[in-house]
């Protein structure tokens, strides 16, 4: 590596390096080898703490999760006593396990709640793209002009994103209480709350939660889109306007395509966030009394931690990681690829 040579083996004092073109600047030293050792010591000193923390508290637990997922273990007894069962935990979650004797029971106990939780994650992904995206686009496009109170509006619309899930969730729990204000309002206009309650209703519970999720997260999309729109040249819009393009035509033909990269990145974050969604769902009665809006993460915590099935919970965690990993890679390879191919346009 030329850089190594530059800083290490080159005996010339670095003072002269201003003439040396591409070589990175190096402190003046009296001895080349000592300088090299010193450089690596510095690198270790600088990178060491971060790398050690990261490997110990992020990488190691993730690898451990993969290991635990092969065992039947309650997390309390010694791990060395745990029974190795290979991919049985995965089999239980995905299709009721490999043993025909227990298949029936395991399908009810493991497979159904797993797929139900997973279907909620995918429903949230789909609805985010089908509802939150157009909503955020319309709001961002209409707010993308000068008017009195614009700064205030932006701050307010973005505020829920910064509030903690716990506070937002608790707030909505109170509003959607069976005797709460939402119910009273519905009654005032001659309707009623969903038959089983805002959260407990098998059909509407999920929609209540999706509404709350939208309230909490749509502000991020709006702010990101507005930031993207502020980078769109006004000349283009002006030219189109002079040529007689209507407001909608300008949005469709100019603004939306030009903030395409921002939209695609937001969609990426939204998809990954939807797969890993936990806090909000957990605050709202742990994914619902009958799991009517459980997610894989809430299911993992419920069964892994609170029902002490650590091996199985770890298998769910690995499936969740695998899902987000595959989706992330696929998304980057197909949709984000063209944005990165022209970095100049990725604004």
């Amino acid at each position: 590596m030329t850089a190594l040579e530059a800083s290490g083996r080159n005996a010339d004092p670095v003072v002269e390096q201003s003439t040396a073109g591409s070589r990175p600047p190096t402190p003046a030293t009296d001895h080349p080898r000592r300088a090299n050792v010193r450089k690596w010591a510095e690198i270790a000193l600088f990178v060491g703490p971060a790398l050690a923390l990261f490997l110990t508290f992020v990488v190691y637990p993730v690898i451990s999760a993969a290991r635990y997922s092969m065992y039947k273990w309650n997390g309390v007894s010694q791990f060395s006593d745990a029974e190795f069962i290979g991919f049985e935990n995965y089999a239980r979650a995905l299709f009721g396990g490999t043993s025909p004797d227990t298949k029936q029971a395991f399908t009810t106990a493991y497979t159904q709640p797993f797929w139900e939780a997973l279907s909620h994650n995918f429903a949230i992904i789909f609805l985010s793209l089908a509802i939150q995206l157009p909503l955020a686009l319309i709001v961002a496009l209409t707010l993308n002009r000068k008017f009195r109170g614009r700064a205030f509006t932006r701050v307010v619309i973005f505020a829920p994103y910064v509030l903690s899930e716990v506070i937002a969730g608790t707030m909505w729990l109170i509003i959607f209480d069976p005797n709460g204000v939402a119910t009273q309002w519905m009654r005032a206009i001659g309707l009623d709350m969903p038959a089983g309650g805002w959260f407990e209703d098998p059909t509407w519970g999920f929609w209540t939660v999706f509404f709350i999720i939208t309230w909490k997260y749509v502000g991020l999309a709006i702010i990101l889109f507005l930031a993207g729109l502020s980078g769109v040249s006004e000349d283009l819009q002006e030219a189109a306007s002079i040529d007689g393009a209507s407001w909608w035509q300008i949005q469709w033909r100019i603004n939306i395509p030009l903030i395409g990269p921002t939209i695609r990145i937001w969609a990426f974050l939204s998809i990954i966030g939807s797969i890993q969604l936990f806090d909000m769902v957990w605050v709202l009665n742990r994914g619902g009394t009958a799991g009517q809006y459980s997610t894989i993460a809430s299911y993992m915590m419920e069964i892994g931690f609170f029902r002490s099935d650590w091996g199985y919970g770890s298998a769910i965690a690995v499936i969740m990681f695998f899902l987000s990993f595959v989706i992330a890679l696929a998304y980057m390879a197909t949709i984000l690829r063209r944005d990165n191919a022209h970095p100049g346009k990725a604004r």
Binding site: I174, I223, E234, S324
Partner: protein, 297 residues
């Protein structure tokens, strides 16, 4: 719809509209549409929050009989009870300590790591960077069960049990944001400093840290919010005494213990929300910049 309203526009602020029109930006009527949408957005966002704060001033009976109107009578008892007790203050202190410690360590270690990754050249540099970026793929939810066991085995408990993993999980995004920022600082800085006989470590402390301040504030704000709102780790680690909890977990615990006293829960939740809102109002620009920067970078 936007075009049909064009003729109404001059009625409002003639000067402003004229300048807009000369620029030929868009049909002016849609400004009303923007204001309309802004008002709806503000109402939908602030409405529930105000309802929560006002609810803290209600009596339980008032909430049941008149949930829509203003509190009548206004009673300060809920807020007073919470603020005169010690529980809320303990939890506020815990949240603050954890967030400050996490933020300080993330910013320090993150900048330290990003410095050689941005400005040294050495074998394995890209590999180390890639290792950190994979961290974005490992959310806390995936690692949390083994992490809990690891902390138990290492006898790390209480608030440290939150701080240390939070640092580790916040490092990847910190390094990813800081690295290009540090790399963009001019090379001549080092040349000049080294000519003056300053070592690399001296350069880091005396030159780089002051110059990297804006980027450090951005990543610091993100780390602070992440820590302040954290719920999953406290849920697993801070079981037991409520005065040892952080605010988010404290709110859910309080809610569980006072399930009949809704207005009390509303007061507690409102109080827990205020520090975050104040911080957000102070740092709004930084937060937005940080998030858009993180998304673009």
């Amino acid at each position: 719809m936007a075009t049909t309203q064009t003729h109404d526009a001059p009625a409002r602020e003639p000067g402003n509209v004229e300048s807009h029109r000369r620029k030929g930006l868009v049909p002016e009527g849609s400004t009303y549409l923007a204001i309309g949408i802004a008002l709806v957005g503000i109402a939908l966002t602030l409405g529930p929050i105000l309802y929560l704060i006002l609810g803290g001033f209600r009596t339980q009976g008032d909430l049941a009989s008149n949930p829509t109107g203003l509190p009548d009578p206004i009673q300060w008892q809920n807020y007073w009870d919470i603020l005169s007790g010690s529980l809320f203050w303990h939890q506020l202190l815990n949240s603050t300590l954890v967030a400050v410690a996490t933020t300080a360590a993330v910013v320090l270690f993150g900048t330290m790591a990003a410095y050689p990754l941005a400005r040294y050249s050495f074998k394995g540099r890209e590999l180390i960077f890639v290792v950190f970026t994979t961290g974005l793929m490992f959310p806390l939810t995936v690692a949390v069960l083994p992490l809990y066991l690891l902390l138990r085995d290492l006898h790390i408990s209480g608030l440290w049990g939150l701080v240390i993993p939070q640092i580790a999980f916040a490092l990847p995004v910190t390094i990813i944001i800081l690295r290009p920022f540090l790399a963009a600082l001019p090379k001549e800085l080092e040349e000049a400093s080294f000519m003056d006989g300053i070592s690399r470590i001296g350069f880091f402390w005396r030159m780089l840290l002051p110059l990297a301040r804006p980027a450090m504030v951005t990543v610091g704000v993100l780390a602070f919010i992440g820590s302040w709102n954290a719920y999953l780790l406290p849920l697993l680690l801070l079981t037991g005494d409520p005065s040892g909890m952080t605010l988010p977990l404290g709110v859910t615990t309080f809610q569980g213990q006072h399930s009949a006293a809704t207005t009390m829960i509303m007061a507690y939740t409102s109080l827990a929300m205020l520090p975050a809102l104040a911080f957000f109002l102070l740092m709004e620009r930084r937060i937005v910049d940080g998030l858009t920067g993180a998304v673009k970078g």
